[in-house]
């Protein structure tokens, strides 16, 4: 009696877990897994819009060529161990061939070894850390859209040239913030500037930056460098305005997306300098792309992360079609090698080239946020200040110490 009831209960529970077991697909089709933050501080940066852009690329290419491609997504909640768990399951059981997006550097780094172990393709559009193509590089990996070095050179370098030669940093006290501060400091010093100090605040969990901002003001530096992202950047800018920091210092948001500017509003964000590798209103091609994808993401215009997902998917599908789907599925290393050989071209970034260490050389654009009076329509936020072509925007190959690069 007791045996059957007890076993019944546990078996019932096991049965609810049965959806975990699925038969493998019979026809060769490709599966793309978009993994990003869908509920936390970076949900507007990547989130559902990344998935929409990925599906857009699938629609445009795969359907036209008659390829079968499936797109799935999950929320990694910015937790490396959850991401590892989901990714292993995706690769082992669900037959995912390409892992895409993955913002948050700690998560992005954790997945390098998983993709390498399972020999799948891993393309990162959302994370920033430049070690992904440096010491942690991998033959299965492409860093698509931007990185900390590119941001440092564009925003940092340009501001020093414009007279901002003394800096004070407000840094999120974790790997990404420290890396961004380090990369930018190196560039400032190389351009003849000085770093007067830095305040490293506990991350996550700080929403009040007032005391750090006051310290920055009293340092006398000309530029306030914000080495943080997402909600932290939004809050620090708001409070910088409140304390009149922007009257005596220029504020450099080292990592900021158009989606963050939208949250801040032009009144608060006006005059800020930031770098992106994509802007929806930059040229006819970017405008055309935005028009195509907007119906799928009506409340959120694409930023460089989203555009990167579209561009990466498009290129992957082109290469997979070229190789043959069955071949592409077999080896991630082979597929990535082909992706590096084939030049990249699309409406978002134009013509780019993927380098040996996995770095996609997108151009970088320094933007200034418009004054409210200058903005003529929805999401009309940026004016172009300077641009750097792809082959100059990124850290030189030799400086990265990437192990897969032949010396």
């Amino acid at each position: 009696m007791t045996i059957s009831r007890r076993t019944l209960l546990t078996t019932a529970t096991a049965a609810t877990a049965l959806p975990l077991v699925r038969a493998r697909a019979q026809t060769p089709s490709l599966k793309i897994g978009v993994l990003n933050d869908q509920s936390g501080p970076y949900m507007n940066t990547g989130g559902a819009t990344s998935v929409a852009c990925t599906k857009q690329a699938v629609e445009e290419f795969a359907n036209a060529q008659g390829m079968k491609v499936e797109v799935i997504s999950a929320d990694h909640q910015n937790k490396p161990d959850l991401a590892v768990s989901i990714t292993r399951q995706w690769f082992d059981r669900d037959g995912v061939d390409m892992l895409l997006d993955v913002p948050t550097s700690s998560v992005a780094l954790a997945l390098q070894s998983v993709a390498r172990e399972k020999n799948k393709v891993y393309i990162n559009s959302g994370a920033a850390s430049s070690t992904l193509t440096g010491e942690q590089c991998s033959p299965n990996f492409i860093h698509w859209t931007y990185d900390t070095w590119m941001l440092a050179k564009s925003t940092g370098g340009a501001m020093v040239k414009a007279g901002g030669d003394s800096w004070y940093f407000l840094t999120a006290d974790y790997a990404f913030g420290k890396q961004l501060q380090a990369d930018t400091s190196a560039l400032i010093k190389a351009s003849g500037g000085k770093v007067l100090g830095a305040a490293q605040y506990p991350f996550p969990g700080t929403s009040d930056f007032s005391s750090f901002l006051v310290q920055a003001q009293s340092s006398g530096a000309k530029v306030l460098g914000l080495a943080n992202a997402g909600a932290d950047t939004v809050n620090s800018i708001k409070q910088a305005n409140e304390f009149g920091v922007n009257r005596s210092m220029k504020v450099a948001a080292l990592l900021m997306f158009i989606t963050d500017v939208h949250v801040l509003g032009l009144d608060t964000a006006k005059g800020l300098n930031l770098t992106e590798s994509f802007y929806w209103d930059l040229n006819d091609r970017t405008r055309a792309f935005t028009k195509r994808v907007l119906p799928k993401t009506p409340t959120n215009y694409p930023n460089m992360d989203h555009a990167g997902c579209y561009s990466a998917t498009l290129h992957y599908l082109k290469v997979a079609h070229d190789m043959g789907v069955a071949e592409a599925k077999k080896s991630g290393v082979e597929t990535v090698a082909r992706m590096k050989k084939m030049p990249v071209e699309d409406d978002c970034f134009g013509k780019t080239q993927i380098r040996e260490d996995g770095r996609n050389l997108t151009p970088s654009f320094l933007f200034e946020v418009k004054q409210p009076s200058e903005s003529k329509g929805p999401w009309d936020y940026f004016k172009l200040v300077a641009s750097t072509p792809g082959d100059e925007a990124y850290r030189p190959l030799a400086d990265g110490h990437c192990s897969i690069v032949k010396a």
């Binding site: 509920s39 936390g40 501080p41 949900m43 507007n44 006290d173 305040a199 490293q200 605040y201 506990p202 969990g205 700080t206 929403s207 009040d208 007032s210 005391s211 750090f212 006051v214 310290q215 003001q217 009293s218 997402g230 909600a231 939004v234 809050n235 708001k238 409070q239 409140e242 304390f243 009149g244 989606t259 963050d260 949250v263 801040l264 509003g265 009144d267 608060t268």
Partner: protein
């Protein structure tokens, strides 16, 4: 320039002032928590979520109904207070006879639900809320620029804290409430409707949290996680002050704000944890907190 411990004097005073401003928030939030625990013996883990709802109510009033900041200061606490009363009547009142633990777990669960729902509908980046124009700008105090709005926050917090303390300690309504929590059947025998009094008190504590939420909206962007950032510190404040002591919470709130502000100058990475260090030290030496009186 005077240098104190290697830090320029003006900077130190600036930080003390900022610490005091943060302390005002801690005091206001812990006040609501202390009222609820002291009077009702409920450990209200949902307090952070209710604070967040107060902020959102102000934002919604502005964006959906066009109602501005000053009316929101009154309306938001009322609305969220009513929500709190509904919550108490339907869910929380069932746990009065049980161990503290269950009240804690229940309100913790409620906070997860509330924050999760808001996160689903409003995302996590935060929504903008402007400082009302009459409070914008800053005055130059010589050693720092003090935004007028922050000065207003300290003032409002002091007034509300004093009013609450006065109401509970010095009025007859407060006396009745205190009596009811010590010996409910006896007070009921005097003809006082004790359950209603308890419900209204819970609503009052929630309204205090919502009021703090409206004050916070222009400074921190209105986002579903804003409660999380405060709740740990606020609990520490209540425990240090003595769970149930109104005066304890107010004084400790301001005090901890100053301590935190000083830590930010000398060792900023530790500023989030210094509160816990203080809590451990206090609890080990004074078992019921600084002003606690109940066992």
């Amino acid at each position: 320039m005077i240098m104190i411990f290697g830090i320029p004097g003006p900077l130190l005073f600036g930080q003390l002032l900022l610490g005091l401003i943060n302390g005002a928030f801690y005091a206001m939030l812990s006040l609501g928590l202390a009222v609820i625990f002291g009077m009702l013996n409920i450990i209200n883990f949902a307090h952070g979520a209710l604070f967040m709802m107060g902020s959102f109510a102000a934002w919604m009033l502005l964006n959906y109904l066009g109602i501005g900041y000053f009316p929101a200061l009154i309306l938001s606490p009322v609305i969220i207070g009513i929500f709190g009363i509904v919550m108490e009547k339907t869910v929380i009142s069932r746990l009065y006879k049980l161990d503290h633990l269950y009240g804690l777990l229940l309100t913790f669960g409620l906070s997860l639900v509330i924050e999760g729902l808001f996160r689903n509908y409003y995302g996590s980046s935060g929504l903008p809320y402007q400082i009302p124009s009459v409070l914008q700008g800053a005055t130059n105090l010589g050693f720092m620029f003090l935004p007028i709005y922050r000065g207003w926050v300290v003032l409002a917090a002091l007034v509300v804290c004093f009013a609450t303390w006065f109401a509970i300690e010095k009025t007859s309504l407060g006396a009745t409430l205190r009596a009811a929590t010590e010996n409910a059947p006896l007070v009921q025998a005097f003809g006082v409707d004790v359950p209603r009094l308890i419900t209204l008190t819970y609503g009052g504590g929630v309204a205090l949290a919502a009021f703090a939420g409206v004050l916070a909206a222009p400074i921190y962007s209105v986002n579903p996680n804003m409660g999380d950032n405060f709740i740990n510190t606020v609990f520490a404040v209540v425990v240090i002050g003595g769970m149930g002591s109104i005066l304890g919470s107010i004084l400790t709130g301001f005090g901890l704000g100053v301590v935190e502000g000083l830590t930010k100058v000398f060792y900023p990475e530790a500023s989030a944890t210094v509160v816990f260090l203080v809590m451990v030290i206090v609890l080990l030496t004074l078992p019921h907190g600084l002003f606690g009186k109940r066992a």
